[in-house]
């Protein structure tokens, strides 16, 4: 029978469909993994952004990965509470985001974030802090569009929520 440990290993392979650099565990959306006596696995995930179309794909990908690995039955549940925050992205996840060219979110408890001020965002290419926001909204629900004033490259920033 498949163990919870094995399922977690398998979830390592399920990537965020819109940001394939990180997996669902690093993204922090997996809330719990249960294995029933029958061998049925119940994975509970929490949506990142309310309207994020990637969530349905993620749920389907989790199902596919586990079924292919021989889990007899898989159920993916969604829970809204407690609400996901960008703080749940693991340190490893943040490092991978940066490597992929996306500035990771700052901590939501950051004083600037709490006051609703513009964060200081480091360019993921050249590490310069001389950056400017171009648009509050970016290519996906979770990102804003920024530009580096030093290397002049535009880049995505993972919004802090």
């Amino acid at each position: 029978m498949i163990t919870q440990h094995r399922i977690l290993e398998l979830l390592d392979y399920v990537k965020d469909p819109e940001i394939p650099a990180i997996n669902v565990l690093e993204l922090g959306v997996v809330r719990s993994v249960e294995v029933e006596e029958s061998g049925k696995a119940i994975i509970t995930i929490t949506p990142t952004y309310t309207g994020c179309p990637a969530m349905d794909v993620m749920a389907a990908d989790i199902k596919k990965e586990l079924l292919e690995a021989g889990v007899p039955e898989v159920e993916v549940k969604m829970t809204l509470s407690p609400a996901w925050t960008t703080d749940w992205i693991t340190e490893e996840g943040k490092r991978k985001l940066k490597e992929y060219g996306i500035a990771p979110p700052e901590k939501s408890a950051d004083i600037r974030a709490l006051k609703g001020e513009q964060p200081v965002v480091q360019c993921p290419q050249c590490n310069s802090k001389n950056t400017v926001m171009l648009s509050l909204f970016g290519s996906t629900a979770c990102k804003a569009l920024w530009k580096c004033q030093d290397c002049l490259e535009p880049f995505d920033q993972f919004k802090c929520l």
Binding site: Y49, T50, L80, S81, A83, L136, L145
Partner: protein, 252 residues
């Protein structure tokens, strides 16, 4: 009216406002004035749609007749939609679109903040997700109102016109009727007068910075909550529902 009926109606109202606004904003897709704004409007539409989906799903569960989110969105008739008329107003120019969203955002944020404390756990959970996005939306629309109002003569004039045109639709957001009274009494809905105060304060602050004039409260439109809509509503539903109507049972 049983409390269950009132909760169904209340949840549906919250959902319909977001669904119809989302549909309107989606019309901008591919037509935005600049690429960034095109993306911003559709992102905004997506956030509203996501929240509407959560609320519609919950409304269906509360009703207990097996109606799904799709069922409620695609198979109701015009008279069964309970959104305020503000949401169905045409996009107009960019000032109209932004003023419409700003007037809604300034109401939506305090509403979601208050719903966090709702005695209904599911509404509180939905608000818990929505409140962060609502903060973001209000910030974005406020910035545009200030930029328009305090911008060129032309942009100022257009923003003021949009504000004057849409003001008559704002009264409906704060209407009190037996459904709301019952929900407020049960601790499910927040006190709407407190939401109005907060809305009014935000509107005053942003308009002052934008050098725009707050229109006087005169005749206020009504009827949306009872399913009586403006002439625009049928066209919105025709576009939104035609695929499901043409191919019953279709899913994607």
């Amino acid at each position: 009216m049983s409390q269950n009926n009132a909760l169904f109606t209340y949840t549906l109202r919250l959902a319909d406002d977001l669904l119809i606004l989302s549909q309107r904003l989606g019309e901008w897709c591919g037509h935005g004035p600049i690429l960034e704004e095109d993306i911003a409007l559709t992102n905004r539409a997506l956030d509203h749609l996501g929240e509407a989906r959560n609320l519609l799903t919950y409304a269906g569960q509360v009703e207990g007749k097996g109606r799904s989110e799709d069922n409620l969105a695609y198979l109701r008739m015009e008279r069964q939609f309970t959104n305020v008329k503000l949401m169905e107003q045409p996009n107009g120019d960019y000032a109209h679109t932004m003023v419409r969203s700003f007037l809604f955002d300034a109401y939506h944020l305090p509403l979601m903040q208050a719903l966090l404390k709702s005695s209904d756990e599911q509404l509180a959970a939905i608000a818990g997700k929505a409140v962060k996005e609502a903060t973001y939306h209000l910030r974005a629309s406020s910035e545009w109102i200030i930029r328009f109002g305090d911008g060129t003569e032309e942009s100022h004039q257009r923003a003021q016109t949009a504000l004057d045109d849409l003001w008559t639709y704002t009264g409906e957001l704060f209407e009190i009727d037996p459904v709301l009274e019952e929900m407020t009494k049960a601790g499910i809905a927040p006190d709407i007068t407190a939401i109005k105060e907060s809305w009014s304060k935000t509107v005053d602050q942003v308009l002052a910075e934008a050098t725009l004039k707050r229109p006087a409260d005169a005749f206020m439109m009504t009827g949306g909550r009872k399913g009586l809509h403006s002439e625009h509503m049928g066209f919105i539903l025709a576009e939104m529902q035609h695929v499901t109507r043409a191919y019953p049972g279709v899913e994607w």
